[in-house]
């Protein structure tokens, strides 16, 4: 190890090195965990709200007490891109993840249609059995069951949780598993009355299933339906809404940027102070014949070593912490746990990047202004 190498400096100044690295590690790992936490939140909401619309779309009468106009139903039915339409009633049940309390759907559909809907959504029975017709029974998605800490035989409904739209008590007889967060209960939609107090959206709402690879065409068809008659929810529409919601996440990014600025200023200034205290060393090396460019290169590598070690350790610690935190906060309650995100890595990377810059710019100014004679004679 050459005496003036950055490694030799690091070896001879372990305490200073460790102190500087710890600051970077804390900053990088905090930002990494923060970003993966936000990603877990976003992905959990995405899967809950968007995934069902990858296989079906919904059309709802604009007025609660009027059915969907027959002409509109005919347009949909007769479309060569539509595989099937199924009347349904949507119930909401509370779904809570850290930072968000929202609702998940329980589809009330005819007993005979449940198998079709499950097949289209690639949903399978995981535990128990499917609910029987004319019984107050429900089959819950396994993530919903996790979220509500429910097992077979437990009951749900607004007598248990006032936030649920299921009136009274329903027994969970089955747990289903699939890509969408969908739960099922048999419900005779033709019998449902508009004023029924156990329904939220009541009658006159249909699920529209596109044929394979015809999602875009059906999406377009439904979006062209008269908006004065029906409300449609398609994959593109719901994705648009989701992206609007995501724009609020930019506020969180601003928090991250502020945190980065604070960390960079504090770490950068402490590094600069370290260099400032080495003015004599730098001056004497310059007097000996080391050019300012060589001294700057030495400072560059010293700063790079600290920041690179800090970045690597910070990402590793951030990643491990993300596994522990997001598994506990999201996966354990039926959400999505993210452990890696490019954005998290980039946000973490900004800390050493800007710390390096904010250290080297003043150090460069200090070295370029340095007069070894002033330093030697100034004793």
């Amino acid at each position: 190890m050459k005496p003036l190498s950055a490694l030799s400096y690091s070896k001879n100044n372990k305490k200073k090195l460790i102190t500087s690295i710890i600051s970077i590690v804390v900053a990088v790992s905090f930002l990494y965990v923060f970003q993966t936490f936000v990603k877990s939140l976003g992905e959990s909401i995405y899967e809950l709200n968007i995934n069902p619309y990858k296989n079906h779309m919904t059309v709802q009468s604009i007025e609660k007490d009027k059915p969907i106009p027959k002409s509109i139903v005919s347009i949909i039915k007769e479309s060569p891109d539509v595989d099937n339409i199924i009347p349904f009633v949507s119930y909401k049940t509370r779904y809570s993840i850290p930072g968000v309390a929202t609702n998940a759907s329980i589809l009330g559909i005819k007993y005979g249609d449940i198998a079709y809907v499950m097949k289209k959504h690639n949903i399978k029975l995981k535990e128990g059995r499917m609910p029987l017709e004319n019984y107050r029974e429900v089959a819950l998605d396994y993530r919903m069951a996790q979220n509500k800490k429910i097992k077979l035989g437990d009951k749900i409904g607004n007598s248990i949780d006032k936030n649920d739209s299921l009136d009274g008590e329903y027994t969970v007889v089955g747990i289903v598993e699939g890509d969408s967060y969908l739960s099922f209960m048999p419900y005779d939609t033709s019998e449902a009355s508009i004023n029924s107090n156990d329904t939220n959206i009541v009658n006159n709402e249909i699920l529209v299933f596109p044929k394979d690879d015809k999602v875009k065409e059906v999406d377009k068809l439904l979006l062209n339906l008269p908006k004065t008659e029906v409300v449609v929810m398609t994959l593109s529409g719901i994705t648009k809404n989701y992206n609007k919601l995501l724009s609020t996440v930019h506020t969180l990014d601003m928090i991250c940027i502020l945190a980065i600025m604070v960390m960079v200023i504090s770490v950068g200034s402490s590094k600069y102070v370290q260099f400032f205290s080495r003015k004599q060393e730098i001056g004497i090396l310059n007097a000996m014949g080391y050019t300012k460019a060589e001294l700057m290169r030495k400072a560059f590598w010293e700063v790079i070593i600290v920041n690179m070690i800090g970045l690597i350790l910070g990402v590793i610690i951030g990643w491990v912490s993300s596994i522990l935190i997001n598994d506990g906060a999201f996966k354990a309650v039926g959400g999505v746990a993210a452990y890696f995100s490019l954005k998290a890595f980039l946000m973490g990377f900004y800390v050493p990047l800007f710390t390096t810059l904010f250290t080297l710019i003043p150090v460069n100014r200090m070295i370029s202004k340095l007069d070894p004679i002033v330093m030697i004679e100034g004793i």
């Binding site: 190890m1 050459k2 005496p3 003036l4 190498s5 030799s8 400096y9 001879n12 100044n13 004599q280 060393e281 004497i284 090396l285 310059n286 007097a287 000996m288 014949g289 080391y290 050019t291 300012k292 460019a293 070894p372 004679i373 030697i376 004679e377 004793i379």
Partner: protein
């Protein structure tokens, strides 16, 4: 000719009302391997002359040439490279780097950690009687030992010229004599220029330049100097 100084003036606060002449109309030629003392009271300009000769101070007017190279014609980086290759420096304070061991401090001018370089550094430390302190940090050494380490550092690159600025000022008398004895031994290999205000340490100097108010007042040839070269 190793050094040639022509009409050298070094003025501080140039252009201001009370500008100060640190050096005034200096003409000097230095040749050969010998020990030269620059004597004078504080503020007489002796250190200014030393650092001008080393290329560390830029003259206000006049020229300084080293081996026919004019400093003012050299770029800053070439000047620095020349200092590193040909010059060695010992200052009033040791200026050892506190976090490095003595041997690493000695190796800094060549920034080499090869076995050969280490052996050479240990050899120098051995000659200076501090080989056993090679792995110590500067704060573990006495003032004299630190100055010896600084001398070893100045010698590691086999310099052609060694510049010494008040190197005995912070040493006791016996340490000062010891240090001067070491430099005297080295004068066969390089031109050694020692700035001091203490004439007693220049007993073995080949020539002594007396400087006063930035002007060379006299150049005293040593009586024992029988060399052809000189000032």
């Amino acid at each position: 000719m190793l050094f040639k100084v022509e009409n050298l003036n070094l003025i501080y606060d140039i252009g201001k009302e009370d500008q100060t002449y640190a050096l005034r109309n200096i003409n000097l030629s230095l040749e050969g391997n010998r020990l030269i003392g620059i004597m004078g009271p504080s503020g007489s300009g002796k250190s200014s002359l030393l650092y001008s000769l080393a290329g560390l101070k830029i003259p206000s007017s006049g020229t300084i040439s080293y081996m026919d190279m004019k400093f003012k014609e050299l770029s800053v980086s070439k000047n620095a490279k020349l200092r590193r290759a040909d010059f060695g420096f010992v200052f009033q304070r040791h200026f050892l780097i506190d976090y490095m061991s003595v041997i690493d401090n000695v190796l800094t001018p060549i920034n080499d950690n090869s076995t050969k370089a280490k052996e050479k550094a240990l050899g120098l430390l051995g000659k200076l009687g501090i080989k056993h302190l090679a792995n110590k940090k500067p704060h573990q050494l006495s003032g004299g030992q630190r100055q010896k380490a600084a001398i070893a550092r100045a010698l590691i690159n086999d310099p052609k010229v060694i510049f010494c600025d008040e190197i005995t000022a912070s040493l006791d008398h016996s340490s000062a004599r010891e240090v001067m004895k070491l430099l005297d031994e080295y004068k066969n290999n390089a031109l050694v220029i020692v700035v001091t205000h203490d004439e007693s340490i220049l007993g073995n100097a080949d020539d002594i330049i007396n400087i006063w108010d930035g002007v060379i007042k006299s150049v005293k040839k040593s009586e024992i100097n029988d060399r052809e070269e000189g000032i």
